[in-house]
């Protein structure tokens, strides 16, 4: 009897897994790429043949068996740098993405559920910040901060990226809050926080996931942008930093494609994998609800 029940329960969560993942080719490809990069990041010391900052080779050496992606102008092995760069890019992306998601979900849920004056004030604040060009604002912030370590990057990116997410969560919450189970929760005497996080949030998880994935992508791209502009931490090896150094050392003039393409393609591929996951989740969620869900 008990066993039978457990089996049923398993099949229930299995159904969700099947719907959102096993029958979803885009998500499978996306997760595949993501897992690949995660493994590279975790096992970077094993995979990379040399240290990322070792200066012990001939500058501008073309790709060879010893240096699969060649050597840069300082005599550093590019393959090792790309491998180690995965760590920084993923850590910054994921941490900033999580920070963004926490703020975005909280503000969105509060504004959507509470509505009235609270919601109005929160959304006006969001509007004001949306008017400010984010990148310019980040550059100004970066100029004022004493250093641009990983944590500062995470805080700056996370603190400015939640605006769109808050809007999208709010709009979903608004429609969810009109449903009768929310009234039922009120009549039962649940508190505001419980209704927000235990009643409404579980029903908008696909939107939150999709948003989170987008936000992680944009956090990674922002990190690359800031590093490329020279606002990152010069002692860190990240993909954006590599592109920045390549640009500063006239890699284009030397026709050193092996220095520019690998970090650029890596950024694009990793971003693509997150996009695949997010968009496919959102499509399935939207189909269940008649097709009108805006991110």
């Amino acid at each position: 009897m008990d066993k039978k029940k457990q089996k049923k329960e398993k099949s229930d969560s299995y159904l969700v897994l099947e719907k959102y993942f096993l029958k979803n080719t885009r998500a499978k490809v996306g997760v595949g790429i993501l897992v690949f990069f995660a493994l590279v990041a975790i096992f970077a010391p094993v995979i990379a043949p040399y240290g990322p900052k070792d200066i012990s080779f001939m500058p501008w050496e073309k790709p060879s068996l010893a240096h699969p992606l060649g050597v840069n102008s300082y005599g550093q092995d590019i393959f090792s740098q790309v491998v180690y760069g995965t760590q920084v890019t993923m850590v910054v992306g994921v941490l900033a993405g999580l920070l963004t998601s926490f703020i975005g979900v909280f503000v969105g849920l509060l504004a959507g559920y509470k509505g009235g004056r609270t919601g109005e004030i929160l959304m006006r604040i969001v509007d004001v910040f949306l008017v400010v060009p984010t990148l310019a604002f980040m550059i100004v912030l970066a100029a004022f901060l004493p250093s641009m370590g990983i944590w500062n990057l995470v805080i700056i990116i996370g603190g400015l990226n939640w605006l769109w997410m808050a809007r999208s969560i709010r709009s979903q919450t608004l429609s969810e809050a009109r449903r009768e189970y929310v009234d039922a929760a009120k009549v039962q005497g649940m508190g505001t926080l419980e209704i927000m996080f235990k009643e409404i949030l579980p029903n908008i998880i696909p939107v939150v996931t999709a948003n989170m994935v987008m936000v992680i992508t944009s956090a990674m791209l922002t990190e690359a942008t800031l590093s490329f502009l020279g606002l990152g931490d010069p002692t860190l090896i990240s993909w954006g930093q590599m592109l920045s150094v390549a640009f500063d050392n006239n890699a284009i003039l030397y026709n050193a494609w092996w220095w520019m393409l690998p970090p650029g393609l890596s950024i694009a591929t990793l971003g693509f994998s997150f996009m695949l996951i997010g968009n496919s989740f959102l499509d399935i969620y939207a189909n269940d609800r008649g097709g009108a869900v805006k991110l």
């Binding site: 009897m1 029940k5 049923k8 329960e9 229930d12 449903r179 009768e180 189970y181 009234d183 039922a184 929760a185 009120k186 009549v187 039962q188 005497g189 649940m190 508190g191 009643e199 579980p202 029903n203």
Partner: protein, 341 residues
């Protein structure tokens, strides 16, 4: 009659609607309604869609606050409950059964969590095992047996009737003395609806509950209720004992409502005599709300708003009954819908 358990005292609910940039208009969902419900009584609130029935239910459950007037439960004005502790105490008295068993159960939770959470909220002193035992007991009370078959299911794995039983179990979980039922059977098949109604009547007898039963279905009102309130456009147009109203309706709107009920043995097809102008709820109401559709409307009906006139044990909001006491007296032929083969 003793002290009423529930008393609506000139209750109004206006929803403010923005129009254009600066314009505002009020939608008068409930306009000046007064009635009382006695201990252990089932009162049916009957009326067409949009007449303010559900708004009244939600006001009684403190989902909305009335714009004007007061609602008394056990002699206390419920808008005076402000602190969380007082509101929680009030929630323990008054619970609601929702109309839509598909929308009112959170699809993200299991049946046992939905009911168990309601128990936990109001009886925090119970241990986990005690809560579970109570949930099983509740499932059995509402006829979901064996309870183990339903405990671990999500609402989407259950049928409409089973879901509505869970909604009832959730409402009973706090051991309320008053249940507000907002069209609990309107989304269900007729045969399942009657099961739910019988369940509610059984519970009322066993636990001595007081019901406010909201419906648009006169037959179910007749089956369930001791007394009845007929609503039209936010106004209470007629109230009294159910049997009396069904046997001898007075207000022209009640007559229209009764004559539009399908009756298989009725001799002739009845032409619905009223026009189909739906009431405008936004305007300033200086006339009888039913005047536009009423075949007996006079100039006076369009000039001023009628008050409640007492006819026997009933209150009727219609000028026709200022002096008259039956529908025949005012010239409405009600025999036609009673004539059966």
């Amino acid at each position: 009659m003793g002290n009423p358990v529930i008393k609506f005292d000139h209750v109004k609910k206006h929803f403010v609607k923005r129009q254009g940039l600066f314009g505002k208009s009020a939608l008068k969902a409930v306009d000046n309604v007064s009635f009382e419900i006695q201990q252990g009584e089932i009162l049916a609130v009957v009326g067409e869609s949009g007449c303010g029935k559900s708004t009244m239910a939600k006001m009684l459950c403190k989902v909305y606050d009335p714009t004007e007037g007061s609602i008394y439960v056990n002699g206390t004005d419920i808008s005076s409950y402000k602190k969380n502790k007082d509101v929680a105490k009030f929630r323990k008295e008054v619970q609601m059964i929702f109309q839509d068993p598909f929308g009112s159960l959170n699809p993200a939770h299991k049946a046992s969590y939905i009911v168990g959470r309601a128990v936990e909220l109001h009886y925090p002193e119970l241990s986990k095992a005690e809560v579970k035992a109570r949930v099983v007991e509740l499932f059995e009370t509402v006829g979901l047996t064996p309870a183990a078959d339903f405990m671990e299911k999500h609402p989407n794995q259950l049928s409409g009737g089973q879901r509505q039983r869970i909604v009832i179990a959730r409402a009973l979980a706090v051991k309320p003395s008053i249940l507000v039922a907002d069209e609990p059977t309107s989304m269900l098949d007729v045969s399942i609806g009657i099961d739910i109604m019988n369940l509610m009547i059984d519970l009322q007898k066993k636990e001595g509950l007081t019901y406010m039963y909201i419906t648009h279905n006169l037959a179910s009102a007749r089956y369930m209720a001791d007394r009845m309130v007929v609503m039209y456009a936010g106004n209470c147009v007629e109230q009294g004992a159910t049997d009396e109203i069904i046997a001898q309706p007075l207000h022209p709107y009640t007559i229209l409502l009764l004559s539009s009920t399908p009756e298989p043995f009725r001799e002739e097809k009845i032409e619905i005599y009223a026009s189909e102008n739906l009431p405008d709820l936004t305007g300033e109401m200086n006339q009888c709300p039913f005047a536009e559709r009423c075949p007996k409307a006079t100039d006076r009906c369009r000039r001023e708003k009628p008050e409640d006139y007492r006819v026997g044990g009933r209150l009727v909001k219609c000028f026709l009954y200022e002096h008259a006491a039956t529908a025949e007296e005012v010239g409405i032929d009600v025999s036609i819908y009673n004539k059966v083969k």
